[in-house]
Symmetry: C2
Subunit: 347 residues, 2 copies
Amino acid sequence: MKSGMPAPDGIQPARRATIREVADAAGVSRSTASRALTGRGYVAPPVRDRVREIARGLGYVPDATARHLRQQASQSIGVLVSDLSNPFYAGLAAGISQQARKRQYTMMLADDGGSPEVEVEAAEAFVALRVAGVIVTPVSAEVSTYLARQQIPVVEVDRQFSVGVCDAVVVDNENAARRVIHQLLDLGHRRIALVIDEMHWTTGRDRLAGYRGAFAAAGVPLDDSLVVTAGWDVDAARIEAHKLLSRAEPPTAIFAANNVLAEAVWRAAAELNMPIPERLSLVSFDDVSWMSLVRPGVTAVAQDPVALGEAAISQLFERIQSPHAPVRTVLLSATVAARGSTAPPPA
Amino acid sequence: MKSGMPAPDGIQPARRATIREVADAAGVSRSTASRALTGRGYVAPPVRDRVREIARGLGYVPDATARHLRQQASQSIGVLVSDLSNPFYAGLAAGISQQARKRQYTMMLADDGGSPEVEVEAAEAFVALRVAGVIVTPVSAEVSTYLARQQIPVVEVDRQFSVGVCDAVVVDNENAARRVIHQLLDLGHRRIALVIDEMHWTTGRDRLAGYRGAFAAAGVPLDDSLVVTAGWDVDAARIEAHKLLSRAEPPTAIFAANNVLAEAVWRAAAELNMPIPERLSLVSFDDVSWMSLVRPGVTAVAQDPVALGEAAISQLFERIQSPHAPVRTVLLSATVAARGSTAPPPA
DNA sequence: CTGAAAGCGCTTACAG
DNA sequence: CTGAAAGCGCTTACAG
């Protein structure tokens, strides 16, 4: 390469164009340039067109942070989920992203890995950025309380920690769980285990309530040893499921309270060569794609995370528009995708 | 409710605290308050502690947008992916989110749904927000060109459109594809189909090259009718696969160029009652969780999207630190997860 | 050791 | 119909 050649970078302007440069180039004031560019306030049409033309030529992109600082209102929302690698949360984020874009909002996303501390930290970052609102799948009551105190509209989705304090969009966990257990009881199952992550959050509590409710409605006594808490890790849960299925009197059916637990049970059954549904019936809460790829397919409560995300963002925008409207909890119902993983218990 | 009671909202301060209020409450200037809070510049220790105490008491959260405006540097990055519902992209985003948090950066995320127009729009929004850099799984050459022109550091990940123009992190598609096809040839397969989304992007082009290369190396002639372009939609691809498998002389093995196509082939084979691997061997590029849940498991090239995301963000930060360092392409190798979906061709 | 002043890039009443 | 001025909430040389 010849020396003395201009560096390739030399071709580009050193800095990004500001409204001042656009105004100067157009021979108008910054006020006029601003009016021309935003379309707010009057400016003579020919002037408007010239300013816009010049802005385009300079590759001018208005600084959104400066605009938001001035207007004291931001065009972005914060989203806080527990685990993007879980298709449920990924679908939720996808639905929110989609709708945010349609409304010209950008989305700040954080994956808190299920940690309450990380969740609050991420919420603080959102507050610092002055987001217009936050959607969260909470892992403790703190996030929503904190955000509410900071005057930031917040919608809890999937789980609800701050009932009555902030808006929420959740599915009708209890009913869906009841329906699915009812079907197992109808098939003749009596030893139906519930493999669940935990039982204090609304998701766990309500799915457990549905499970219990179905037994009560059928007048079937319930064996508490069949409710096993298996946490959030697939491998740990798989070991729990393995133990459960190795008992002297194993369950004839298992209700897995989420897709991770269903995967754990599925793997455990395979390890033990326990054919589904001949020796074991399996039902899952949360329908993800592998459940229709395996043989037999897994009967599952289908939640439609994308729709859940869309409902959450709709609620958030309503809240931003009407800060003083009464707090609302939106309850979405779920359907049951019946597949081949259930059958009458072995004789 | 009694009238005359203060509205619940009345309890909270009308506005968020600013540094001015912190300074006033502490009886110091805004300059001093700023120095105390940021830790930059000197301030007497007792004063510092008092200011911080008061800030905490007021629930003061500094306005990051104002800070960034002043410092002309932002602490967030933009991430642009094609489809969050696809576990590959979700894993990528998860890896990036993780690392961003560790470095105290926030992540703006947009799902462009594979549309070049949406992708450029989203990039414009990132420019407006003055992100420190962007990571993108590009669907056209425009995004990176545009961002480069706007002086925003950009890293292309998974696919590479702007070779030599911006940094990239990709996997060694050609080698991985060659290895996997080589294994099929070794098993005795000759009619090996390639089901691919498209063949112009680096991913498609290189996987095709690996496929071709393996045939050439083995001296086996290649039947071009066995390369079928199936797009991005599972259902459309399933129909293509169905047609392929229904030919008079169907392939004895299929190499699906990504996880969506593998799912399509899997479903088509099930519809046709074509046992895998007895009648059809299947190999996938991209290993996602269902592939180890089905029986037989699907042999797949494993890319580790989380690691890919982490590599991309590392590269991005290096670029932010050294804007004039030579452009770099990082090539990650991939492993093959051998499972039960391959066998010698039927006699 | 601290404070007054300037300025980041915008928008918006207001004056003319 | 347009421009000068003020100000959003910060930070940072600089003066004292």
